[in-house]
Structures are given as C-alpha cells and as structure tokens.
C-alpha cells in the first residue's frame, strides 16, 4: 500500500501524519503540494491532515477546498482510492463537497484539546476493520470548529446506511456535534472525515495506541500491527 499526504499552507499536523503512516506501514508516504494536479497512480490512500489551512480566516477549509490538488483528489476518489481527512482535512472534504454536512464553531466557542472516547459505530469499513463494532476507543481532539451539522433528512439516510463511522461516547462530545458525530464517510465508503486525531495516539510515548487501527485498516496492515 502506498499513501500520500497533502500539504497546503497553514496545515500543521502533516508531520504528525507522515510520522504515523511511516511508523505503522514501515513506508514513508509521498507528499503532494496544493498546486499539483495529479497524484501518482499507485497511491492507495490519500490523507489530508489537520491544521489551519489559509489560517481558517474564511470558513475552515473553504480556500483549501478550491486549490488545484482537490480536483485530483476528487478524481482519485471516484476511481475508488481511499481518502482520509482529519480535523482541518475533514473540514476541507466537506467544503469540497466530498462529504455531506458542515462543521460549525464548537458550542463552547473555544478551541478544545483533550482526550475523548469514540464509539466505532461501523467496523465494516476500509478505515475501521481493525476494530469491533461498538468498541469504545480513546482519541484526542484539538479543534475550534468541530460541531458537525447536517440536515435531518440527510442525517437519517447516513445513519441508516452506516455512514456515521465514529461517535463521541460516554458523554465526551467536546463540540456539540449532532448525534455525537465524530466521523462520517461517503456512500461509496472510500472517503472518511473525522475531527479527532488518531495520529496522536499510536504508540507508547503517546500513552496508548488506540488510533493505530484506523491507519492499519486503511493501509491494509492489520495483521502486521496487531
């Protein structure tokens, strides 16, 4: 499996993501810059990491979603390549129309960085098969705008089809997201967006490795990292 990490001005968890992908797959991802218009054919997983693209001075992710690289990512997604957006990456995918809904300011109106609990709602996806359905994992969050909203009709369909992949569990919803939603995927099941940062909980130094499963699943190296 070959992975790629997207780099844009203002993203700042790209190095964390590169480290996580390298440690888990044993292979460093390639990096692609915002102005590139193509991504190598052998890339199986494209990751848009977290940060503050273009300072988040407009709606979070709105400017990044309009950069040339996004068309290339859309094209790849349509061909079935896996796309993972974490935090600002999730916001960018939503702004690019690749995932439904919107991410509003946290209900506290404050940036929040803490550990929360996540319920794996759907363990039959390319990103979650390392987990059990209903498993509750630890995961840190660090964001100002993670309050997920989508119209009720769309939401009902998403819930029915298992497109809500992660939910904040045990009363740890840090941002007021509807239905405690922490991560959603598209109908095809190859594009996942999530606010929490699994890349910051993958080894002993992080105090746990609950986040590994997402990368192990997406990189198809579950056995190797179990």
């Amino acid at each position: 499996m070959k992975s790629a990490v997207v780099q844009l001005p203002g993203l700042n968890r790209d190095r964390d993501m590169i480290a996580a992908l390298t440690k888990i797959s044993g292979k460093a991802p390639i990096t692609v810059w915002q102005t590139e218009t193509d991504i190598a054919d052998d890339v199986d997983l494209i990751v848009i990491p977290g940060g503050f693209s273009y300072g988040d001075y407009l709606r979070c992710g709105a400017i990044a979603a309009r950069m040339p690289i996004m068309q290339a990512i859309k094209d790849k997604a349509e061909k079935g390549v896996k796309v993972l957006g974490v935090c600002n990456g999730f916001q960018i995918l939503v702004e690019a129309g690749m995932l439904p809904g919107a991410l509003m300011r946290n209900s506290s109106l404050k940036f929040v960085c803490k550990e929360v609990k996540l319920e794996v709602v759907n363990a039959e996806t390319d990103f979650t098969r390392a987990y059990e359905k209903g498993q509750v994992i630890r995961c840190p969050v660090a964001h100002h705008d993670g309050n997920y909203f989508v119209d009720s009709e769309t939401l009902a369909g998403m819930e029915d089809r298992g497109e809500v992949v992660f939910r904040y569990a045990d009363g740890t919803n840090p941002n007021g997201s509807m239905n405690d939603i922490a991560g959603v995927m598209n109908s095809r099941g190859n594009v996942l967006g999530m606010m929490p940062h699994p890349e910051n909980l993958i080894e002993m130094a992080h105090g746990g490795s609950d986040g590994r499963g997402i990368f192990a699943s997406a990189l198809d190296v579950i056995a190797a990292t179990a």
């Binding site: 001005p9 203002g10 700042n12 968890r13 190095r15 964390d16 480290a19 996580a20 940060g51 503050f52 273009y54 300072g55 988040d56 001075y57 404050k110 940036f111 929040v112 960085c113 803490k114 840190p140 660090a142 100002h144 940062h197 890349e199 910051n200 130094a205 992080h206």
Partner: protein, 735 residues
Amino acid sequence: MTIPNSIAITPELVASHGLRPDEYQRILDLIGREPTFTELGIFSAMWNEHCSYKSSKRWLRTLPTKGPRVVQGPGENAGVVDIDDGDVVVFKMESHNHPSYIEPYQGAATGVGGILRDVFTMGARPIAAMNALRFGAPDHPKTKHLVSGVVAGVGGYGNSFGVPTVGGEVEFDPRYNGNILVNAFAAGLAKSDGIFLSQAKGVGLPVVYLGAKTGRDGVGGATMASAEFDESIEEKRPTVQVGDPFTEKCLLEACLELMATGAVIAIQDMGAAGLTCSAVEMGAKGDLGIELNLDQVPVREDRMTAYEMMLSESQERMLMVLQPEKEEVAKAIFVKWGLDFAIVGKTTDDLRFRILHQGEEVANLPIKELGDQAPEYDRPWVQSTARAALPASQVEAPSDYNDALLKLVGSANQSSRRWVWEQYDTLIQGNSLQRPGGDAGVVRIEHHPTKALAFSSDVTPRYVEADPFEGGKQAVAECWRNIVATGAEPLAATDNLNFGNPEKPEIMGQLVGAIKGIGEACKALDFPIVSGNVSLYNETNGVAILPTPTIAGVGLLPDWQKMAKIGSAKDGDKLIMIGTDGSHLGSSIYLRDILGRIDGPAPEVDLKAERRNGDFVRSTIRNGQVTACHDISSGGLALALVEMAMASGKGMKITLTDKRGPAHALLFGEDQARYVIAVPADLANFVQANAENAGVPFRALGTVSGDRVIVDTLIDVGVADLSKAHEAWFPAFMN
C-alpha cells in the same frame, strides 16, 4: 507625492518620544547636528528601556551566562544549548505585558508570535511553548475579560502555528490589577552546525525583506512598553500589533527551507522597533553599514512616511543578508509560500545607517553608536527592608485541616488550570510526553530513540516582594527542582524580569536584589542564563506589580522511558519526603489564603541542600526506583501530597511520627529543596539507606492506598472531593 521629513524638533516632541533632555543632548553630541524627524524616531526606538536595557544592563552583566553546554548566550535572538548528538535546543522567554493589558487577544497572540520568531530566526524548528500569565484579583472588573482574551490569544496563535504548549503558570494577585504579565517562552530544535546569527558579513550584499507587509500597526510600541500607565491607557490601543499566525507558519517553513539551501548569511526578525532594530543589529554586529531604500519596502497602507516604516511593529517580518547568487532560489521559495520578498538595501563599508525615501536621505547615523552608545544608568537603589521573623508558634493552626485543604485546592491560585490549557494544543507534533498539570512539560526529541527535554517556568512573586534576594534564588531553585522532578538534568535557563518603575530606588532595589539572587542560584546549580528579557515600568498610577522575575529552564532526559511523573504512583508504594521537615510559614500560601495574612520573610534557599537533594532525587529516578515524584512548593507538603493523589486518583495513608515542631508547619511550611517520591514498597528501605549515605535528609511518610488522603488524625478527605474542589474554581470563575 513626497512625504515630508522636515517636522520641526521641539522639546515637547523630544519628550513625547520618551527621551529626556540629557539623552537628547547625548544625541546632539553624537551626531553634531539636530536629528531629522525620522532620526529622532530611530533614536527613541533604540534608546528606550525595552530595547537598550539602560537601567538593567549593568546588573544583567553579573549573571552567569557560560557553561560547558552553552553554545550561544545572551545577545542573539535566543540562547543555544548543546543536548548531545549534534543537537541543540534554542530558547528564550519574552514579555508582552503592556500590549496584552491594552488589547488582550492581540497582545498575547503577538507575544507568542514574537518569541516563536526569535527561535526559528536562529534556524530552529519550534517544539515547545510555555506561558507564564499573571492577572489582577479575580473580583477586579477587568480580570475575567483579560483572562479570556489572553488565553484565547495565546491559543489562537500557538495552535494555528502548530507548536505544543506544554507548561506555564497562571496566577492572580491584586497587585496585577493595573498591569498584567504575559511572559511567553518558546524552544526549538536545531543542529549545532545549522545555527543562524544576526551578524552581517560582506560588503555590497543584498539586504532582503521577507514575510508580511509593513503597516502602521505598532508604531512606537517599544516606547509605549517603556512607560507607566495612567487613565489615558485606552488611547494607546493603536500601538498594539495584530498577529497573523498563518503567515508566521508560512514564514517558518520558508525560512527553514531557505536556510537549508545555504543562501542565508545573516538573519534577524523584526520585533520591537521593527526595521530599525533589526537593520542596526545586523550592521553593528558585523561592523558594517546598512543602506535601506524604503521605496522598496512592501507596504499595506498608502502614504506611509519614513518615520512610520522605520518604527512599524507589523508582525511576521524578517530581514536577511543573502548570498547574491542564491537570490533567485530564495525568491522562488518565498513565492511558493505566498510571502513578500524584496531587496530593500545593501551592506556598506562606511558604518553608517542610511535611509533613503523618495529620493531623499531621511536618516544618516553612525550605526555602531546607535546601539553601543545608548545611555546606561546606574540607577540609585535601596535594599528592601527585611521582614521580621515569623516563627510557626506565632501562626495559628487551622481549626479544621480538611476544610483548610479543600479551601486551598479550590482557591484561585492553587486550583486546576485545566480550563486554560485545554484551550491550547498540547499534543501537536506527537512528541508531548508530559502535558500541563505536572511538574514540568516533557517533549521527546524527534528521530532520537530515547532523548527528551523537560521545560518549566517558575517564580514566587510574594517571596521576591518579601526578600528580593531570596526570592530571586527561589525562582531559579524551583525551576531547577521542577525539571529534576522528571528525572532530567537542568541545563540552562532564560529570565524574564518584570518590575515596576526603575527610577524609584525601592523598585530598583527589588531588581538589583533579585538579579543578585538569580545569579547566586544559577552559579550554585550550574544553571546559566542564556537569554532573557526585561520588562520595567509595570506600574499604574504609581502602584507597581509584585516583583516577578520569571525563570524558565530546560533539562535533558537521556531516556524518557525512565522519567518520573506526578500521578503515576501505584497502590502499595511507599511515599518518602526528601528534604527537611516543614517549618517556615512566613510568606506562605497557608498564611495568605487561609489566615488572610501577608507577613513574614521568604523561605531561605540553601543552595547546597538544593543541589544535593536534587541530585539524589534525579539519580534515584534514573535508577528506576521512583514510580512518581513531585516537588514541594507553594502550600508545602500537604498540597504536594494531595496534588499527587489527585493526579493519580489514588489515596494515601500518612503518619507523621516523631513530629519536630507543630503539625501545621510540617504540613504547610514552604521550606525549600524538597520533594515527595513514591517508591515500590520493596525498595523503600534501600532508597532510604541511599539517602542516609548521601547525607540527604528524608522522612518516611506512608503508603499509597485507598481513595482517601489520611494524615494521622488531622486529615481525612476523599480524593474525589479534593478533585471536585480543585477542578471547580476556574470554570465557575469564567462562567
């Protein structure tokens, strides 16, 4: 159109630039003519207290700044310390007090931005930040607004830039009602052969302007920071700069990319007094003149005068001297990151600082003298009056120890700071091993299997007020101790000296006493000062802040798997106090917050004991014999124990047999050089025997067990109740 430089220089104009008549005479003597308006601005920027250290320089020189690991001491953008394997840590702390009071969000944000820039200007990627914040009384009408704005500003900048905030302090005291303190620390990592300095080299080389455009924000900011406040404070709002962390993040990446190409000869960030200070610094250090053509400076506002451009404190800007043949490479990197890149001048061999604007020479000054000939004062000072001794027998014991303890852990100053640090990204970069809430922040070194750095920032202003010398010593000792409590070896420190008006002999006496104390402690602990900052005139309507010399230190852990934490004790572990029994209640938290008295001397710091006890604790941690460790500071043994209990969620049963002195002194005394360690039960005798052999005083305290903190028949309180009180204060205050 031409913008005039011909404003008449009047005594009023000179005074409004913060220059005294004798200082103005010095300028006349130096240049042999009346300065132009722009030149007057340049002098006022270079000669104010903030940039020239004219009141403190004489005393700062007495601080120890050298050591076997010191690569670069004070005088550059930040200090540089060797951490083995060709790695160096680059760090500094700097205040942004005055702007943060006027406009808390932007003041704090640009304070963080400024210190980060100081670090990456030297070629280091920032890996950790801390913030020491001091506010007025919680019930003062401005306090909530200031806390809310400062915390949001610190987070807003640091989170977006992408550096983990791993430690700091937040304190309240009515003495900061009119002047809050925002002291920002940053540390970065570089290779020892990849350090960049501000000294220009070579004649006729391009001086390049990089980063954001120049606007009118911050014009005169450094001069503002060198004056007292009064009711006209609101008028000063336009002197506060506006931060743009996105541009700074791009500037970081662009600078590191450019440095890797070998194009950079010298680099200086534009901080206080912007273009003026940075250009003079680069030229003066390199024994070169600098000629700037302001028509080339990227501006974001129309019709800016030379005066405004030279004094603007617009953020996220850099000045560099580049290898001419690498100009195109450099430009391409900056275009990629969407930043301005302009050649605005050149180095010359005439040692003049010449400024051209619209075909006119608006300034022509001797560059060396601008910095070197700044006035330096030996200001009169008086030693602070020593406070009478306050034996424990003259301090009443609490009527109920449980109530006293619950009150302390839930008080404004001893309660949990979670509300604050959950607004900071403490995890980014994936290397944070210890986050806020413990003794020190710990960050592992990327690409090294075992190495990590510990960071702590400390000062106890009430001690410094009671006794500047002992208080100065204590600030250093506590910082050193917090680093030791993780198992790290303290390497070096940065000082951020916040005081009132140095023209008052009693304030100057506090500054002198504190610096002497800091110097003595740094020498005794081999903990040199490698960078720093002085913030004076922290007064409003004649009332000064508590003297607050913040010390931020860095320590090295060769193997982070062996580090100690505050909350990792296990059931059945034995608790041992290292150091002597508590006896000193003067200037203590117990006296102030339980009995409502501000009285008595500061505790004395026995630096020999500090070092001996600390060395013992560190070696015991490194031998793998310690499961948890915490230093004893404000609130004494009792507070240290309950802080360990709350952090681990475990109770403890303590027996104070063979009491020497009254129990309330034993429990709340703030004697120095002390720690609590938890050790596995089967090692307790061995560790105690080692302590005895090393001549280290200790006391066996008891056992980690259950879910209550029990001390003889005095204290019996549930850990959950303590935590509830501890966590409740801040959110309730801010609601």
